[in-house]
């Protein structure tokens, strides 16, 4: 699957603009603030219906506008097709493939993409919710059932929290606890399967990137206990479950959030994204589009060459303020 064209209307800083891409290496250059990351964000949004930077979809719409449109033109085994996301301030996002309305989850299997973002370090060293969000989006990309599991979980959670908040349990709290536990355990299982696959690839990748220890992600579920049940009734909300579980990036057995350098977090993020790239290709049977947001500026030349080598058969879109020497022979340069 190859990306041929991106067409943006009222997305972030773009009023109305088209970009054309070629197979191979595409380089987007421009000064800070010219919209390089916004462009990659638009492509990531078209692929996942989510942004790598924010969970607030409303800020993706250009200031002062009511709605935005992101449209990509793709060429795959099935021939040419286009995929479009129209978002409005009032009513969410509507997805279309070849102008036919589809469920947002159908987008995910049609246009696989992997993003390497400088914010990944902040995610790894940041809050549990940030990592959870990143991994949740990735699981959605390879597992069509996962989004339904999450939506169902959130529905049960809202109902249970409403009951806890109103403090009017008429013998029904146990019912919602049972439902939430089942739903939470189902999500735990899918997450563990995903993490096991990532860790397996990361074992091969870690030495390639010059690490003596393996990068791995550790999933800690948050389970119901009788104590948690009592605590919920005091707090007036649910204090356990899949929405409280954590993913921890580790080097060997060392947690990178508290005990890792920024450099280690950066390499771990790269390895995670490469491991995911491999999984995405295996699960979807399509070679994903690679989005590399200003990744080279903070890496040494050995790693830059390694990355270029690993991506030589992929369609890649790099952004950079200046042209790195590894990208001298970019197939297509877009200057913003």
């Amino acid at each position: 699957m190859k990306l041929e064209k991106l067409s943006l209307i009222n997305f972030r800083n773009y009023k109305n603009r088209d970009f054309e891409f070629v197979d191979g290496v595409n380089l987007i250059t421009g000064p800070n603030g010219s919209g390089k990351t916004n462009l990659l964000e638009a492509l990531y949004f078209a692929s996942t219906t989510a942004s790598q930077r924010t969970s607030n979809k409303k800020i993706l719409i250009k200031n002062g506008e009511e709605s935005s449109r992101v449209k990509v033109f793709l060429f795959g085994e099935e021939g040419r097709f286009d995929l479009e996301l129209v978002s409005s301030l009032s009513g969410g996002t509507q997805a279309r493939i070849n102008s036919n309305k589809v469920k947002n989850s159908e987008i995910l299997s049609s246009f696989p993409a992997v993003i390497f973002s400088p914010e990944d370090i902040e995610v790894i060293k940041g809050s549990r919710s940030g990592i959870r969000r990143m991994v949740n989006i990735n699981i959605c990309q390879i597992n069509s059932r996962y989004i339904d599991l999450l939506l169902k979980y959130r529905k049960i959670l809202r109902e249970r929290n409403a009951l806890l908040k109103a403090r009017t349990d008429r013998g029904t709290l146990g019912v919602w606890t049972t439902l939430l536990r089942e739903s939470s355990e189902e999500i735990d299982r899918e997450r563990q399967i995903f993490i096991n696959k990532i860790n397996k690839s990361a074992e091969d990748l870690s030495p390639e990137f010059g690490l003596n220890e393996f990068v791995n992600v550790n999933y800690r579920s948050s389970n119901y206990t009788d104590n948690a049940g009592f605590r919920d009734e005091e707090l007036g909300y649910t204090s356990w479950g899949a929405h409280r579980a954590g993913f921890y990036f580790q080097l060997g057995s060392r947690d990178l959030k508290d005990e890792g350098s920024r450099g280690e977090a950066r390499i771990s993020a790269l390895i995670y994204r490469f491991a995911f790239r491999q999984m995405l290709e295996e699960e979807t049977g399509k070679s994903p589009l690679i989005l590399m947001d200003d990744v080279f500026s903070e890496l040494d030349s050995v790693k830059r060459r390694l990355i270029s080598e690993k991506l030589k058969n992929d369609q890649v879109i790099f952004t950079a303020t200046e042209k790195p020497e590894e990208l001298e022979k970019a197939d297509n340069v877009i200057a913003l």
Binding site: S144, E159, A166, G171, T172, V175, L179
Partner: protein, 199 residues
């Protein structure tokens, strides 16, 4: 300047928007239609609504729509009075009748939802328990909506009904007949696989 409808028509539009799946645009279209149509037609509609509302009440047994104390299903001699099907709303009876089901019904009038403030006291559960004590059922079929509120209600009912030593069954989840497997979503298919049987 936006055109302003005369006050009585505005009230009509306002009343119509309270109906399910009628938005402001549809409500206006209906109101214009009623204003344009012959006077008898509109008055006849009003009279019919009034008559239906005054004559129809809930069946004292099942809670479904009835034009006398009991509905025609509960009064019928040809129904299997040993099998009770529990549904959320009166319109669910019409859906299950399509299947050729010959038992009788009990309408809960909703499903548990703390978000919408629906508690067990708001549902016809005490009436259900009363019926189980007085009528002799062999089987209770739970035919609730396959969403989280329906599931919660089913779990709650199973807990209440277990002391009566009855056979309790639940509708199977699965693929719509005449549909294509390729169009079924993952969630439905996994439920259908879970409930598969020996052929």
């Amino acid at each position: 300047m936006r055109y302003r409808l005369p006050a009585p028509v505005r009230s009509l539009v306002n009343e119509l928007t309270k109906l399910p799946s009628i938005g402001p645009r549809s409500a206006e279209r209906l109101a214009y239609y009623l204003m344009k149509s012959p006077k008898e037609e509109a008055l006849n509609l009003a009279a019919t609504i009034r008559e239906a509302k005054e004559k129809i009440s809930s069946c004292v047994l099942c809670g479904g729509l009835a034009d006398s104390e009991k509905c025609y299903i509960c009064s019928s001699d040809s129904r299997d009075k040993k099998t009770l099907c529990i549904v959320e709303n009166p319109q669910d009876i019409a859906a299950i009748e399509e299947s050729g089901y010959m038992g009788i019904y009990h309408v809960l009038m909703g499903s548990l939802s703390p978000l919408d403030g629906v508690t067990p006291d708001d549902l016809r559960i005490s009436e259900l328990v009363e019926r189980i004590k007085t009528e002799q059922f062999d089987e209770i079929i739970l035919a609730l909506d396959p969403n989280v509120e329906g599931e919660a209600t089913a779990i709650y009912l199973k807990d209440i009904l277990k002391s009566f030593n009855l056979k309790i069954t639940q509708l199977a989840y699965g693929i719509p007949m005449g549909g294509n497997l390729e169009y079924a979503d993952g969630m439905t298919l996994s439920k259908a696989l879970e409930g598969r049987r020996v052929y």
